[in-house]
């Protein structure tokens, strides 16, 4: 065996017993051997370190482009300072987001949401809106308390889509929509407006899981679709249901690419014309398997949508180490949608796709 192989074996932890002992003794007694080993290890450490740092850099760039936009530009930093002082701490977040204007090339598909992107001249208006919102929101809560019935008093300042992932009242949606929310309601034609809270989020994938607070709402849920961990092929037919407006809207197309924006392999590119409000909707294959979640589109190109792969979402749910928390997906023994025609599939899926209404007040 060459000495280099001996080094490699030692570093890989493959030396045992008397071999290991002999190796360690030689390190101690033979200074040339020791020096050669140290050089060997230094070189290989540097190689590995280069690799580690590169992958960390890639992750950081990805996080950056999700949260601060690839081309975030500064309009005026002084302005944000003044605002911070005048409006207090909580407002500072909104102010800096507005002042550090975001020129995001990937549009996030929630309706509204322009609030934070307004430019300098409109910043003063922001606070009034925020105050107004707070008032309306209290009104809504009051209404819900007294009547407990459907109310359309106020439009939410952000709306999008979400869908059930199990029979316990868990609803998956987009993180960019619910991030910083004061209150989040969901509703559809089968379910009256009901309040939810965020119980999980993964900003790197832009997903969040909401839980319906009132357990009675999901009492009789029987989700018809399965969450599909495998990827499907380019050219395969796909469809989605979402709430670009108050009523549910169906969209279909095909899988255009196995990777998304910036060659992100956590996403698919799809040819479904998605619109603001589609964010957080399920992406299904012809058999009614959920294969992804609608994320966004390129603002400059029509008919180009992106969806986060189910596979990545499942992975994200199972790697929450903090509390070793896991979120269970409903997995019906049989996919009841497989042999149905599309309109029948939609009838069964629609009750589990929700209009998500987000109220933010800071």
């Amino acid at each position: 065996m060459r000495t280099v192989d001996l080094f490699d074996n030692y570093l890989a932890g493959n030396l045992e017993g008397s071999d290991l002992l002999a190796f360690e003794q030689r390190l101690e007694n033979d200074s040339t051997f020791k020096k050669a080993f140290q050089e060997h290890r230094l070189l290989l450490d540097l190689l590995t370190e280069h690799n580690d740092k590169n992958s960390l850099k890639n992750k950081l760039n990805q996080i950056h482009s999700v949260h601060f936009g690839k081309e975030a530009k500064i309009i005026s930093i002084n302005n944000s300072e003044k605002l911070t002082k005048r409006l207090g701490k909580t407002f500072a977040v909104a102010a800096s987001a507005a002042v550090v204007a975001v020129v995001v090339t990937i549009a996030l598909l929630s309706t509204g949401g322009y609030l934070l992107k307004k430019q300098k001249s409109e910043i003063t208006d922001l606070k009034r809106e925020v105050d107004g919102l707070k008032y309306y929101q209290d009104a809504i809560v009051q209404k819900l308390k007294t009547k407990g019935t459907k109310t359309n008093v106020v439009d939410a300042n952000l709306e999008g889509t979400g869908f059930a992932i199990n029979n316990d009242g868990y609803v998956l949606t987009s993180w960019h929509m619910v991030n910083g929310a004061d209150s989040i309601f969901i509703e559809n034609s089968n379910t009256e407006r009901t309040q939810t809270k965020i119980i999980f989020n993964d900003p790197s994938l832009d997903i969040a899981v909401l839980k319906i607070e009132n357990a009675n709402v999901s009492e009789n849920w029987q989700i018809p679709y399965t969450f599909f961990p495998k990827t499907i092929d380019v050219g395969d037919n796909v469809f989605t249901l979402g709430y670009p407006r108050r009523d549910v809207v169906y969209g279909e197309g095909s899988l255009s690419s196995q990777s998304g924006y910036y060659n992100d392999t956590a996403m698919y590119q799809i040819s479904i014309p998605v619109n603001p409000g589609n964010s957080g909707g399920p992406l299904l294959d012809v058999y009614g398997n959920v294969i992804g979640v609608i994320r966004g589109k390129i603002s400059t190109a029509e008919g180009t949508g992106f969806a986060i792969k189910s596979r990545e979402i499942i992975k994200s749910f199972t790697t929450i180490d903090g509390d070793s928390a896991t979120i269970d997906f409903a997995s019906p023994k049989r996919n009841g949608l497989k042999n149905l025609k599309r309109s029948e599939q939609l009838k069964r899926i629609t009750p589990y796709v929700f209009n998500v209404m987000v109220y933010k007040s800071n």
């Binding site: 060459r2 000495t3 280099v4 192989d5 040339t32 051997f33 020096k35 050669a36 050089e39 060997h40 070189l43 290989l44 540097l46 190689l47 590995t48 370190e49 280069h50 690799n51 740092k53 960390l56 850099k57 992750k59 950081l60 760039n61 996080i63 950056h64 949260h67 601060f68 975030a72 530009k73 500064i74 930093i77 944000s80 800096s96 550090v100 809270k197 965020i198 119980i199 999980f200 989020n201 993964d202 900003p203 790197s204 839980k211 790697t319 929450i320 180490d321 903090g322 509390d323 928390a325 896991t326 979120i327």
Partner: protein, 192 residues
Amino acid sequence: MIKPKPKLTDSDFIEGLRNGDEIALSALYKKYYNLVLKFVVSNNGSSDAAQDVYQETIIVLYEKCKDPGFVLNCQLQTYIYSVARNLWLKQLKKHGSVTGLKDFHVDVLEEASGDVKSHLKKEEEIEKVMQSLSQLGEPCATLLKDFYVNKMSMDDISEKFGYTNSDNAKNQKYKCLQRLKRLFFNNFTLID
């Protein structure tokens, strides 16, 4: 079952960096970006420069976290601010003198300059390895990376590069590594 997500503490972030926890990384990145952005932009930097400085700061922290004995003896915010400040000052000094520096954080940690120094030295060394590797050419560079970084087996490597058997591949790897050492070390210790 699921508990509501707790607020991450400084030690959660450090633990997260150590374990490659992407949720913690993302949360950390978001938490202090604006602080560093504000500092760099207020001191003659662009937002692109701020992004670079901030990411390098996270990498310095990552390097420190990899040392199991590393204990943070100040607030994480102070550490990050101090490292970023140090990195940016070095950039500014390259282009001339620094006057009227605007600060946005009260505490500045003196130790940070040492950490930045050893980080830059490390970066230089890595750069040198990468240069040596590119001088080495193909298939040596890829072969070494496959074996040492991607941890591919000799059998897989021999198949990938079309060697007749894994002993041949092993021989090739040996020669490549010796050449790399010759390029990298001025006086490399030859032992075989």
